[in-house]
Symmetry: C2
């Protein structure tokens, strides 16, 4: 297939030219094929890569360092599809901004043992959980292990169904897009449902009318 100029790449991908140039400078997008001194031509691979970057930045809210980490996994020919998915998914959780307490870390470790979850050591999601527990403690509403386990049971119910229904007929870039968008887009759904269910159970328990 014939290559395309920058203008067409922008039109095909829906990404503004200035943004594409920024991604080229940041080496998120590989350079085009030089055709003459000042022009370069791009191909379907560039369109595909731009779609991935937009999903990571836009829906996923990932910063550039985390986008680089996902792209490194996508480009690592020794990584299989599962490893690409895992790497993209792992980057969804930002590292906590402040130091996480040892007590919350121990509580997370106790939960993981109790649930027999197989997780990568020092995973970012576990750190994010410990930080969220610290925030509850700081607000005077610490979460005990039984309550945390109830949340974990509900989360496992959701996650098991999600992973079961996953198609594995994806190329590597689509797998990374799926890991990020599939995870992030359903989050507001889950949170809205929790609020609706709280309203229902509160009505059942307290309503006098």
């Amino acid at each position: 297939m014939a290559g395309m100029w920058m203008a067409e790449l922008s039109e095909r991908s829906g990404v503004p030219v200035a943004t594409i140039k920024f991604y080229l400078r940041e080496k998120l997008l590989p350079a085009g094929k030089a055709t003459g001194a000042t022009r370069a031509s791009y191909d379907e691979g560039h369109v595909h890569r731009l779609r991935l970057i937009r999903a990571l930045v836009g829906v996923g809210g990932l910063g550039l360092d985390r986008v680089h980490a996902v792209l490194a996994a996508v480009d690592d020919t020794k990584a299989d599809l599962h490893e690409v998915l895992a790497s993209a998914h792992q980057q969804l959780s930002p590292l906590p901004e402040s130091e996480v307490s040892e007590e919350s870390r121990r509580q997370v470790a106790a939960l993981v043992r109790r649930k027999r979850w197989q997780l990568q050591p020092e995973g970012r999601h576990s750190e994010a959980l410990a930080a969220a527990l610290d925030a509850m403690t700081a607000a005077g509403q610490p979460l005990d292990l039984p309550s945390l386990t109830t949340y974990a049971d509900a989360a496992a119910m959701v996650a098991e169904a999600e992973i079961e229904s996953m198609s594995t007929a994806m190329d590597r870039e689509d797998a990374a897009i799926y890991a990020v968008t599939g995870t992030v887009l359903a989050e507001p759904v889950l949170l809205a449902l929790r609020r609706m269910a709280q309203e229902h159970h509160s009505n059942r328990r307290f309503s006098t009318s």
Copy 2:
């Protein structure tokens, strides 16, 4: 008890003087008792009210219009404790910025019927859910009713335990604080747990090592 000047009110509540003055102008905080032409004195009620406003704005992320709605319920002497809780909780969900599709609204209504949830008509959480479903559809990942029901079952499991464990020995302002902070602070916990459970189930299904 003796009243306090603005400086002490600021120190006691942890809210800067400029912010307190802004809340006074916006009528979120009632005026102090005039003592002379330029001074006013404040009491414990002001400290309490400031704690509530900070929880609504800071943890809850509520805009001023929604804070007004919560305070109106707190101050409405005809509302009982349950109604104060319900009103504060309802304000947590912002109204969707764009028009929600009729199809998503119908899907939410079908779910509520199936789950036999008692919700207030035209509730904000249901609208937020419909908007979240629209976003998934727009991203090419529409959620079908069986999947939505799985999410709802998990949300109900969490919410039932949360409402069961709720203390009702609260005054009206603490009830509003609880409805907001108790709901919001646990959200990152639930989302981190879902990501951990996804990692676990993905490892179980796909890992070859």
